[in-house]
Symmetry: C2
Subunit: 282 residues, 2 copies
Amino acid sequence: MSAADQVLAHAQSDRGMASLHPNEFEAALLDCIAPWLGDGPPLPVIACGMVGARQGWAEAPYSLVPCPPLAAQARIAVSCHDPRLTLHIVGGVAQHTPSDVMRGEETQIAGLLAGSPAFAGVASLPGTHCKWVRIADGKIRHFRTFMTGELFNLLTTRSVLRFSVASDAWDEAAFLAAVAEAAARPDTVPGLLFPLRAASLLGDVAPSAVRARLSGLLIGAELAAARDLWQDTPVAMIGADRLARAYCAAVAALGGDVTLHEGTALTLAGLARARVLVADRP
Amino acid sequence: MSAADQVLAHAQSDRGMASLHPNEFEAALLDCIAPWLGDGPPLPVIACGMVGARQGWAEAPYSLVPCPPLAAQARIAVSCHDPRLTLHIVGGVAQHTPSDVMRGEETQIAGLLAGSPAFAGVASLPGTHCKWVRIADGKIRHFRTFMTGELFNLLTTRSVLRFSVASDAWDEAAFLAAVAEAAARPDTVPGLLFPLRAASLLGDVAPSAVRARLSGLLIGAELAAARDLWQDTPVAMIGADRLARAYCAAVAALGGDVTLHEGTALTLAGLARARVLVADRP
């Protein structure tokens, strides 16, 4: 962001695509930002993420790789009922081989490139669905998505393992040992999950180690499957929460060249870049 | 079972460990079998499975491998309030390296051994948690449990993939192709799950193939991790439902020597064997 791009106010809501019908998005947005609206010219709003999905406010198309993260043809203007607003939604990025899609991450990548236009390497965006995105020449070349975060959440809240991860303690040594074990022998991981439950039933494991070990096994298996993407190239890890820091530690432990970038700052930088693009070519 | 061991009546209930407190089991059992009770001597009841877990009717201890499936020291007599009943619960089997436990499967294995006392090989018991059990000299030597069934259920009902497996259709060719792909490269499987969702969003896959492909990827990864157990040895696949038939087809496609055994018949044969053991040594 330029020096002029300061955050003047922020607001958040837990109402997203899963809980809103398309015609309810504008009211949900106004619930957040109405206090910011005045009698001047309309406020330009730039949105990204699932708000542009088929079940979102309005569908913004995907750009196909290879493409810049904010390809003009994927952006849509959406008409609002409230005359104090104009709205543009940033489109996502898709890939056919293998099939993959993103919405929102492209904006963080645009933020990364706004600060480092010559970045060549891979961006990793941990979360419910972690994406590994190969970037070169200002374009997204290829990417792969892993459901590791969603799997971890399901296993720790809905599966038989939930009884064994009751402790919120985090044992970093158990995490890194499991990462190393899974990355070296990812084929064994399907057989290492139920033993976490059995080990806690039989008293074979410290309760505080189970959650970290499960996380390490799943992330280690992901890192093994994504090794061709992150090995021997700079890795920009995007996020700042415990999960992103855990991924960073795991990649570094396996010899990767990884740097942590604050995710919210990159989202804002990406949206600021999108605002410039919209002004150039509305 | 001997010729005298005929099924005279059967009853079932959906009330199990998850929905009953320990002091509610007897009433739940009587709801099922009260019509069978008369004024004669008490009816001997033999039970196996989660009824013997810590949260069950009464905890029956585990036997440690190697052990016969119905080791006497793991069996417990439970006193009932109703004088028309006597109850014994068959204990489970446990292993420390790696940590693992079973409850119920040991009874099916006892049923298998009742019919084939010299069986040497591996028994596979697909279900929520699939167990692979190495058997020799009438004993359980070693076993390994996979959460594949629970994982499939969570992914198809709770994860983002649920939107892509709406079709109940079963594409056997897609299943077997995915088994082969995952068994050959199990390390790639974590990266092949989200693409199922993306492929259906992008129209890259027939909707009828998604469920079978997901099942094949998970089962193929399990078969790769269990290969040391089932390769080059007879495999007794225990079950008769669609899942057991799918596992059978998968093992056979990978070159395994597999025979299907009806699971309920083996449970009854195992319980009949337990009844004889209880009569010998109550």
